[in-house]
């Protein structure tokens, strides 16, 4: 295997830029019957909160044209159980593990960040300020610039690990929020989380989801994700973890070209459980065919200047020459 896909992401060396999207990959081992998870660049685990949560009432899943809605509502076993799980996961996974952390109120974000700081096996943190499925907290933090500033600042104070702030697409000005979290010490931004949506069962004359509204993901949101990554990456100097509807190698290349240094796969894996392997092979082949020495050379290639300015701002940080 060549080094074409090796990247440096938030100071960590990753074998490739392919990661998983939080909430779509369980706690790291669920897909191991379909591919070796160590083939991933890193694994982003299901979102966790301080206390265990039961999540939202069913029905929690609805398929929509080229997409799906979910209203899981951050069901998770809580940090104590998570701590117990991690060592056994790490035994099987020798790739960086990324914890996705969530809170209802500011204090909960701080508390959980402190806990995760202590978990040796967790190398990076994705700060989720964008879950549309919890009544308080979640998206409320991501949709309000000053709340986003506050939560990023306060979490940064207690967290020394590399931190990616996951932004909400349910805003008018994503660039403003991205710049704010960068100012407050985010090492990277992840976008996009799901778009708030709904679906109706016309037979029952009722919304399909028990929680009425849910988060839209899958190919249907891809154009929105691309647009936001394109805008944000031209405005910040930190790497973007791109996601939202990636289901092929071509999609992955599009995300990288609009400015994503790494990508996360979510909904695409439900229909195609071996998608990460397919994309890995596809990216490798693409690099060979196009004489690309390292995939990071095309980060932002679709920017007006071919991405040169953004790659410069990122520094050699995103690239490992081998």
């Amino acid at each position: 295997m060549s080094n074409r896909l090796n990247i440096s992401f938030l100071g960590k060396k990753l074998n490739n830029p392919i990661m998983t999207a939080s909430g779509c990959f369980g706690y790291g081992l669920e897909y191991k019957n379909y591919f070796n998870p160590n083939e991933l660049g890193a694994a982003v685990l299901k979102g966790i909160t301080m206390e265990p949560r039961n999540g939202n009432p069913g029905t929690r899943i609805a398929e929509t044209p080229s997409g799906m809605l979910n209203s899981v509502g951050l069901e998770n076993p809580g940090i104590e159980e998570f701590k117990k799980l991690i060592p056994s996961i790490k035994k099987e996974l020798n790739i960086p593990l990324v914890a996705n952390i969530n809170g209802k109120i500011l204090e909960e974000y701080i508390e959980i960040a402190k806990e995760v700081e202590q978990i040796e096996e967790i190398e990076m943190v994705e700060l989720n300020i964008s879950c549309p499925n919890v009544k308080d907290g979640g998206m409320a933090f991501g949709a309000n610039p000053e709340m986003a500033r506050l939560v990023t600042r306060e979490v940064r104070k207690v967290l020394s690990k590399p931190m990616i702030v996951k932004l909400s697409p349910n805003v008018t000005n994503i660039v403003e929020i991205a710049k704010i979290v960068e100012e407050e010490g985010a090492n990277g931004v992840a976008l996009i989380n799901t778009l708030l949506g709904m679906a109706v069962d016309i037979r029952k004359r009722k919304p399909i989801l028990g929680n009425i509204m849910g988060g839209l993901s899958g190919p249907a949101v891809k154009p929105v994700a691309l647009r936001m990554i394109y805008q944000v990456s031209q405005a910040v100097s930190i790497p973007v973890l791109g996601m939202g509807g990636i289901s092929s190698t071509e999609d992955a290349i599009e995300f990288i070209m609009v400015g994503a240094s790494a990508i996360s796969l979510g909904t695409g894996m439900f229909g195609n459980p071996t998608l990460p392997i397919e994309i890995k092979k596809g990216l490798e082949k693409y690099c060979i065919e196009n004489n690309i020495e390292n995939i990071s050379e095309i980060v932002g290639a679709a920017h007006p200047d071919g991405g040169a300015a953004y790659r410069n701002r990122l520094g050699g940080n995103n690239e490992i020459k081998g």
Partner: protein
């Protein structure tokens, strides 16, 4: 676990919207259990989720699926012709506990809930006494029963419109059966109201009962937490801890978290 393009060798209409599809694969797993299911991929990419379909039967390298053409995905399946391939993932979930000998068993299938029953009866019938109660809306909904293997099995059929068997439902028949016989275990699959009614009768008579539940699924392998239900043992995934549950573990078949939202 098995993820493969399998070849369609038969895809026939049984009645109305009910279809039977047989597929052949090279490495079909031989260790599946009745009650388990497969996730079937749609060819049209705009359908981003697979469809959970029960294992109707396994015969060497051949899998059988009995399905109802309801929405976009299952209608697409009806169009598959012999020789075409379909990608299937499974077997998934737990199955019925069939490790039994010398028991008096009632097996109840209602409507589409007939799907896992053929395999279940096949697995149980050599070592146990079985009464099978099949029910459905009309003759079409119970037509599949003709394809079951009924040697040494007591068969009772009910339809809502009385077109086949008695006019009534499976729970009425169950109550009758319990008057005459001692039953050790009840296995059932069918619509939610039927699951609840059967579970209640089982409980009243102190009989062990395994029910199969349905939830909308995205991953099918407990990676997305989409199919959770609240049980007496906490939140469980229908795709992984189920779809078959002990009826006494289920709080209320339709309820997840009465408080909703984040607790």
């Amino acid at each position: 676990m098995f993820l493969e393009d399998v070849k369609v060798i038969e895809n026939i209409q049984i009645a109305d919207n009910y279809y039977l599809m047989r597929v052949e694969g090279k490495k079909i797993p031989q260790h599946s259990k009745p009650g388990q299911f497969f996730m079937l991929q749609c060819k049209d990419n705009s359908k981003v989720l697979r469809r959970p379909i029960s294992l109707h039967n396994v015969d060497g390298n051949i899998l059988e699926f009995y399905y109802e053409a309801l929405g976009k995905g299952t209608k697409e399946f009806t169009q598959l012709s012999i020789g075409e391939t379909i990608n299937v993932q499974g077997p998934l979930g737990n199955g019925y506990d069939t490790d039994l000998k010398g028991k008096n068993i009632v097996v109840i299938g209602g409507g589409m809930g007939m799907a896992p029953i053929k395999y279940l009866i096949k697995d149980l019938k050599d070592n146990n006494d079985i009464t099978f109660i099949g029910g459905g809306r009309n003759a079409g909904a119970v037509k599949i029963i003709e394809k079951f293997d009924f040697e040494n099995i007591q068969l009772k059929v009910a339809t809502d419109d009385g077109s086949v068997g008695i006019k009534g439902n499976t729970v009425d028949i169950l109550k009758e059966v319990l008057k005459d016989q001692h039953i050790d275990i009840i296995y059932t699959c069918g619509p939610h109201p039927m699951m609840e009614a059967v579970a209640k009768v089982a409980q009243e008579n102190n009989i062990r009962c395994q029910i199969s539940l349905e939830e909308r699924m995205a991953c099918g392998i407990k990676a997305c937490v989409g199919c959770s239900i609240l049980t007496k043992k906490g939140m469980k995934k229908v795709c992984y801890d189920g779809p078959v549950f002990e009826s006494t573990d289920i709080v209320d078949v339709d309820v997840v978290d009465p408080n909703g939202g984040c607790k």
